[in-house]
Each structure stands twice: as structure tokens, then as C-alpha cells.
Assembly symmetry: C2
Homo-oligomer: 227 residues x 2
DNA sequence: AGGCCGCTGTTACGGGATTCACAACGAATC
DNA sequence: GATTCGTTGTGAATCCCGTAACAGCGGCCT
């Protein structure tokens, strides 16, 4: 029984789909749907049913064969896989515009990631209340991380400070860093970083836009008039 | 000479790296570096040199063989490929916390995406100044899009309104939508959507964190002590 | 001038992800 | 009860991306 070990070899592509599955399933759960077939679920997400089953297959049986998936089984199973059976407390580093926006983004808490601390170095920001929480001085960082058992940090500091803050987070025991700073972070192997770069996103969008405008729209069906 | 046509068949993975190349190259340019080899550039981005050359190969020669890449040639070439040789004006739909944060995020303008309009339906927000621009009433949407030639929109409205706003954007001639709402958008084939879902990002991070904590840390080198 | 070194462009290969195909199973219907 | 339909689990095949290898070119040093 080393399923946890095995689960870590799951490809990234599959991992990124798990939250989408969970989101849709919660929606179904909310409106009282009990059963859902792989085809139904997959079509609503614009993917192939076989891929969905393949994804689930990494983690073992969520259903007895011959019968559709049961929403009430799938939701907690996925939550357990993702690691949010219990809420995962998080801290935000950097109370600038983006940090404040994220602190206010109630969807995060709703999805199992309550923000338990917001930190900044700017004295003008310290003490400012955001959704009932004060922006804290960095002095309190280590203590709060330890007290609340925080393992995930959201980094919204300027790129110039990102590495220094990261080092401090790592020393404080943070295991996952959600990095919004436009810079690469160096961390030990025991820490995971996920970069979320807005500029990358909008630029790849721009490329596709240019393709559509310049080259006629892209066709996936191989058919186009006049050629 | 159908390079533009061909360029649209470039894999997504390559497209997502182009902004990273451009970013690093601009940094080099800023400090006066003239030449850069594929190895130098690749190493600083933690990828293989062969992959970088492979990526560039989709678009044709940026350099004469035998000599390293010239920063001053590469930067405008990439900008032209991405479609930001001239600034791409954008509009933001939804002036909530996230919309305001993005409007204040000067990096966007720096990277070639100036925000020329911020819109909301909330009368309390309309008129509010953000970085010198008022939040506008939706009435002005179509006119401004046409006047400024806007092709890219950033969507930060609540999920419930996202599709309605999208339909209106499409009718107004928007070609690319950067969607922060946690919902899928239906658009015609001539419009591109890029979903940026924070919840997905933090959940996949959470999964990796769980793996590290539960299963001992993942090893890519096949070596681990005491087993 | 000649040889050596470093660089890019390009092709070939290997591996991973997606898709397909089918076997095994349950339920409902006739 | 048999049969048909719909479902999942799973291994095979296909496709695509990442990597390696090498050919061709330019400059430099001797």
C-alpha cells in the first residue's frame, strides 16, 4: 500500500485537471446531482472521456465498474488527493495591489485556502485591515507560520525582493510557494514553486490573436475556403 | 513566403516560452549585452539549449549560423512574433479588487499592454480614478474599443456575469480574452480565450506539497538516503 | 593558410501524454 | 432468464514534445 508514493508520479497535465474536475463536481453536488458518467463530466470540460478515466485511473477506483461515478464519493476523494480535506492555511507576502486583491479574493478561502496572514515591509501598509486582518510586520512571520501550521505562501512582492523573502520562507518551514513575482526562485528540492506570470499569459494570448488576425483564423478541421 | 501561416502551428509549449526568452533578452539588453549563445540563454532559464534552438527554429533564422544570437535582433523579432511591436491596447472588464490590481500593475504596460479602459456596472465604482483613468460605464465600451482599436480584453467580473460580458465583447470586435473568472466561456472560433485560474494553480501546488510531506520528498535523481 | 573551436540549424530519436479499443461488469427491459 | 445498453478499467497505439546528435558555417589563433 504505497499509493501516496505512486500518486506523486502522476504527470503534471493530470494534476492540473484535478481542480477542474473538482470544481465541476462541486457544482453538480450543489444542484443535487448524484451520479455522473465520465462522458458527461468530460464533455462539460471539453476533454475526452477516456482522458478523464485515465486521469482517475492513476489514483485507483472511484467507482465500481459498470456504474457511473458518484458525486458524493468523488468530491471528497479528489479533495483528499489534492490535499484540502482540511483547509490549508496560507500567508500572503506583499500587501501591494495584487496582494490585497488576493487577500480579498474570497474564492481562495472557499476552495480551502484561508489566508491567515498578510505581511509587508512598508510601514504605511502595516496595520491596514483587509477583510478583518491587519497587514503584519515581517517580524511576526516565523511565529505565525509555526503557530498556524502554514505550509503554503503566496508571493506578491517586487521581483527584487522575491529571492530574499523566499529564503526566509524556506527557513521558516514553508513547503509550497505560489510566486507572482516575475523572477525565478531558487529553492531546495524539498520546496515546490509554482510561477504564475501574468505577462506570460497575456503574451501567449497576444500571439494567438495575431495569428487569427493575420493568417485568417486557425482551422482545426483542415478546411478553409479559397485555397 | 507563408511564414505567418506556418507560425500558427507552433505548439503551445513553445509559445509559452517565448515571453520568457523575451524577458531575459530585454534584461540582457538593458545591461548592454550584445551577443548571447543558446546555451547561455537557456541555462539562465533552466531549459536545454537544444530546446531553445528548436523553439526558434519554428520561426526561421534569427542569426547566421556559426555566430551567436544578437540581442538587438532577437528582441524585436520576438516582439514581432508575439505581436507587440506596437503596444497592444487592452481593456479591463470588472473594477473589483482584482481588476483594480491589474489596472495598477504597471508591468503590463511595460510589457506592451497599456490599459486604455476600465469598465464596471457598479455605479459606486464608476468615476473612480485608477492610475489616471476613470472607471467607465459599460455604455462606453463599444465606442472605446473601436476608437482605440482594442483587440484584447481582461475579464475580472464575477463568474455569473462572465458569459454575458463575453458575448458583448465578441460583438464589439474583441479577439482575445484573458479570463480570470472561474468559468468556461463560449466564444466563436475567431476568438481566443486564455483562462487564468488562480484556484487551479494553488490546488496543483497543494498536491505537490502533500506529496513532499507525505511521501518523503520526490527525487528526480533516483537517490535518497535511508531506503 | 590551415586547423581548431564554438555556434546555429536541422534531423532523428526517445519518452510521455492523449486517444482509441475492448474487456468486464451492472442494470433495466422484454 | 437472456439480452441489450451503458458504464468503467485498462492496455495498446498514436501523436506530440523534449532531447540528443550531427552537419555546416564563422571566427580565431598559430
Amino acid at each position: 500500500m504505497r499509493k501516496t508514493r505512486r500518486a506523486c508520479n502522476v504527470p503534471d497535465a493530470t494534476i492540473h485537471r484535478l481542480p477542474l474536475y473538482l470544481e465541476k463536481l462541486k457544482l453538480l453536488q450543489a444542484i443535487g446531482v448524484e451520479d455522473v458518467s465520465s462522458r458527461q463530466l468530460a464533455e462539460s470540460l471539453d476533454i475526452k472521456a477516456s482522458q478523464l478515466r485515465h486521469d482517475f485511473h492513476y489514483f485507483g477506483g472511484f467507482s465500481r465498474p459498470g456504474r457511473p461515478y458518484q458525486v458524493d464519493i468523488l468530491v471528497p476523494a479528489l479533495e483528499q488527493i489534492i490535499g484540502i480535506s482540511q483547509p490549508q492555511p496560507t500567508v500572503i507576502l506583499g500587501a501591494g495591489h495584487l496582494g490585497q486583491a488576493l487577500a480579498n479574493y474570497q474564492n481562495l478561502e472557499l476552495q480551502g485556502f484561508p489566508v491567515v496572514g498578510i505581511f509587508d515591509v512598508n510601514p504605511k501598509l502595516i496595520g491596514l485591515e483587509i477583510r478583518g486582518q491587519p497587514v503584519r510586520d515581517m517580524d511576526e512571520l516565523e511565529l505565525l507560520i509555526r503557530d498556524k501550521g502554514v505550509r503554503i505562501a503566496i508571493l506578491t512582492v517586487p521581483a527584487a525582493n522575491a529571492q530574499a523573502v523566499t529564503d526566509r520562507l524556506v527557513r521558516a518551514g514553508i513547503v509550497g510557494i505560489f510566486n507572482f513575482a516575475p523572477t525565478d526562485l531558487k529553492v531546495p528540492e524539498t520546496v515546490v514553486v509554482r510561477n504564475e506570470r501574468l505577462a506570460v499569459g497575456i503574451m501567449s494570448l497576444s500571439f494567438r490573436v495575431k495569428c487569427i488576425i493575420e493568417g485568417g483564423y486557425e482551422r482545426t478541421d483542415g478546411l478553409v475556403a479559397g485555397e
